[in-house]
């Protein structure tokens, strides 16, 4: 009896151990991937950001150091680009929400009884991903070019002064950002609207809430998780983007991404580029944390 108990206990422990070993084995590829492509690069980036230039050495020569001044210099020198990055990303996020929410509402709520139409519309939302990001942005360059239909129409109806242009302006950059990241906003918002229980919307109407009030007090709070993840998925890549500014903007619209790009690949100033990257990462992290806390959706994310 006792022996049987002991044996039983023994196999149980062995089983638990075997199970935890299996878990580790299953996790290993993911952990390895994370280490090689995330932890190690971030560590190298942090180290590089503290290197100092070799005085009188060849272009790009650096040596290990603890040059915290790199950070100060980066912030002081490139404050306008930081400001622009966050401003453009913010405007693009707001615009993407303004366009994406109604779009997602139509697909997720109004078309609920017509699954076929719903599917077609969803494919249309994702369709831009079928061509490359860069190509699409170049296409925008054509659309907004000085001799394009858009510009000439806007000039004809006097919405644009005769000597104005759209390319190489902040408007073009923000438009490009909004367009390129719109699906990242639309899809998460769609996912939460699709799950919205319409009986709750009816209950709102039954309890004296006008349609606007029902939207404000029922629909919006219930779809907040979608809005939060959509705006994060839009804001974070938009703040670090350099393609839109490079293709649709000019020197006056350059964002942190453009500075990092030129510091790394043209000027070969690795420490500054690394410091800028670290600051961008930290700033985005802080903003995200603040935003998630503000919107009160920690438990929903």
């Amino acid at each position: 009896m006792t022996a049987a108990l002991v044996v039983g206990h023994g196999t149980e422990v062995a089983g638990a151990r075997r199970r935890s070993r299996t878990a580790w084995l299953l996790l290993a590829p993911g952990l390895l991937y994370l280490f090689v492509f995330f932890v190690a690069p971030v560590a190298v980036l942090l180290l590089t950001s503290l290197f100092e230039r070799v005085p009188g050495g060849p272009v790009g020569a650096t040596r290990p150091a603890f040059a915290v001044s790199n950070y100060v210099d980066a912030v002081v020198t490139y404050a306008p680009q930081f400001g622009r990055s966050f401003l453009y990303a913010f405007i693009a996020t707001v615009l993407a929400l303004a366009i994406g929410y109604p779009l997602a509402y139509v697909i997720g709520v109004r078309c609920r009884t017509r699954p076929l139409l719903q599917g077609v519309l969803l494919v249309l939302v994702i369709a831009p991903f079928f061509t490359s990001f860069i190509l699409r942005t170049i296409a925008w360059k054509q659309i907004l070019a000085d001799d394009s239909v858009v510009v000439s129409v806007l000039k004809t109806v006097s919405l644009l002064p005769d000597d104005a242009r759209l390319t190489a302006t902040p408007v073009a950059v923000v438009a490009g950002l909004t367009y390129n990241f719109l699906p990242f906003m639309t899809l998460p918002v769609y996912a939460s609207l699709e799950r919205l229980d319409l009986r709750l919307v009816e209950a709102g109407g039954d309890l004296y809430a006008t349609p606007i009030s029902t939207f404000r007090h029922v629909t919006l709070p219930l779809t907040m998780p979608g809005i939060v993840s959509g705006s994060l998925l839009t804001f974070i890549p938009a703040a670090g983007d350099y393609v839109n500014s490079a293709l649709l903007g000019n020197a006056g619209t350059s964002m942190v991404g453009n500075v990092i790009d030129s510091r790394f690949f043209r000027v070969v100033d690795y420490p500054t580029a690394a410091a800028l990257s670290v600051i961008l990462m930290a700033a985005v992290l802080l903003l995200v944390a603040w935003y998630v806390r503000r919107s009160g959706t920690e438990d929903l994310l």
Binding site: E202, A203, G205, D206, L207, Y208, V218
Partner: protein, 382 residues
């Protein structure tokens, strides 16, 4: 605090070519507890939604307190609903759920009034919880408080007790009745549970296939159903197919498979031709094969006992009577078992308890084996 009366005039609702509510007219007096009873799919929810303004009728008008509200929208109507699914707002805690309607109408003393409503359903201590943290019964009470707090002219309850277990259900029935007495609102309570409808309501309307079959006080409806559907949906009935042969001193004589059965003329829907004679199972008594029937009683049989089922307070006997079909008898367990399966018995009842209906060919809900059997024997007769 008082409700206002609710009036529906020729309300029809079609979904495509399916008619969910069919030319329905009724008046519910202010302050009454009105039960709408019917099988699932008969249009009860659709009717409530029309009253609440969540669905617009294809035809007809809705009045509250004499005012035509057909064209107004849900949020403009002095009506609140306790939904079948409760539909509590998951992102708001209990007190904010209850306060929702008051806040939308910018009322004063919102929190105090919401708390008072929670007191009424005895849930003050759970005011800070989210709906997901409540049991089914508690959610039901929050839904009730959320509707009651607005003091609507009419309160609609859509099978609010459907999801509760039997014990809680009985408890909530008593509770609801108490609350209605207390607040004096007009309650429209939808249910498919006939016992619930009869114990709670002042007026019961039996609904079938989008129409009201019969409406009245529970006792009245039970005592004198006017259609086979009502006879079997509200309690059970033995229905015997027969033909009216004569009328004497207020009593109709009906020939049922060669036996003369009597029905008071004022309890008959038709006084001639083919009728269905109905009698409730608890009104029928069992007699031994050779026992004489009590004076004045209608007697039927002999028949064979097909089944005996003991149910504690009573025993149900199923008796096959040649020509009349299978009859059901509820006997109180006063003298122990008096018949066994295979035994021969006779049945008797007082003519005052019988009623006569016209077979309208409507499908019944399957509880009345007697009807099917009667129809079979009718078809077999020359």
């Amino acid at each position: 605090m008082s409700g206002r009366d609710l009036e529906l005039v020729s309300v029809t609702k079609r979904f495509g070519d399916f008619t969910a509510v069919d030319d329905l007219s009724l008046t519910m007096p202010s302050g009454s507890f009105f039960a709408l009873l019917g099988p699932s799919g008969c249009g009860k929810t659709t009717m409530l939604r029309i009253i609440a303004g969540l669905e617009s009728p294809s035809a007809g008008r809705v009045f509250i307190g004499g005012e035509d509200i057909t064209a107004t929208r849900a949020h403009q109507r002095p009506v609140n609903t306790v939904f079948q699914s409760y539909a509590l707002f998951p992102h708001l805690d209990v007190i904010e759920n209850v306060a929702f309607g008051l806040r939308r109408r910018r009322e004063k003393h919102v929190v105090e009034r919401a708390m008072a409503a929670l007191d009424l359903v005895e849930l003050r201590h759970l005011a800070g919880r989210k709906p997901a943290q409540l049991s089914g019964g508690q959610q039901q009470r929050v839904a009730l408080a959320r509707a009651l707090v607005n003091n609507p002219a009419v309160l609609l309850l859509d099978e609010p007790l459907g999801a509760l277990d039997l014990k809680l259900r009985r408890q909530m029935q008593v509770e609801l009745k108490r609350i209605q007495d207390e607040v004096g609102l007009t309650f429209v309570h939808v249910t498919h549970d006939q016992e619930e409808a009869m114990t709670m309501a002042d007026t019961v309307a039996v609904m079938n296939a989008g129409r009201i079959e019969q409406m009245g006080a529970p006792q009245e409806l039970y005592d004198l159903p006017r259609t086979p559907f009502v006879a079997n949906f509200l309690g059970r009935s033995n229905l015997l197919a027969g033909t009216v042969t004569d009328e004497h001193g207020g009593l109709l004589g009906v020939d049922v498979a060669g036996t003369r059965v009597q029905v008071p003329a004022d309890r008959a829907v038709a006084r001639s031709g083919a009728v269905l004679v109905g009698v409730r199972p608890e009104k029928v008594i069992l007699l031994g094969a050779d026992d004489p029937a009590p004076p004045g009683a209608t007697a039927l049989g002999p028949g064979t006992v097909a089944d005996v089922s003991f149910a504690g307070v009573s025993t149900e006997y199923l008796v096959d009577v040649p020509g009349a079909g299978r009859m059901s008898v509820f006997a109180q367990n006063l003298t122990g078992v008096s018949a066994t399966p295979g035994g021969t018995v006779r049945l008797a009842w007082s003519p005052q308890h019988a009623f006569a209906l016209v077979d309208d060919g409507a499908p019944d809900d399957g509880t009345g084996e007697a009807v099917e059997a009667a129809e079979l024997s009718e078809a077999a007769a020359p």
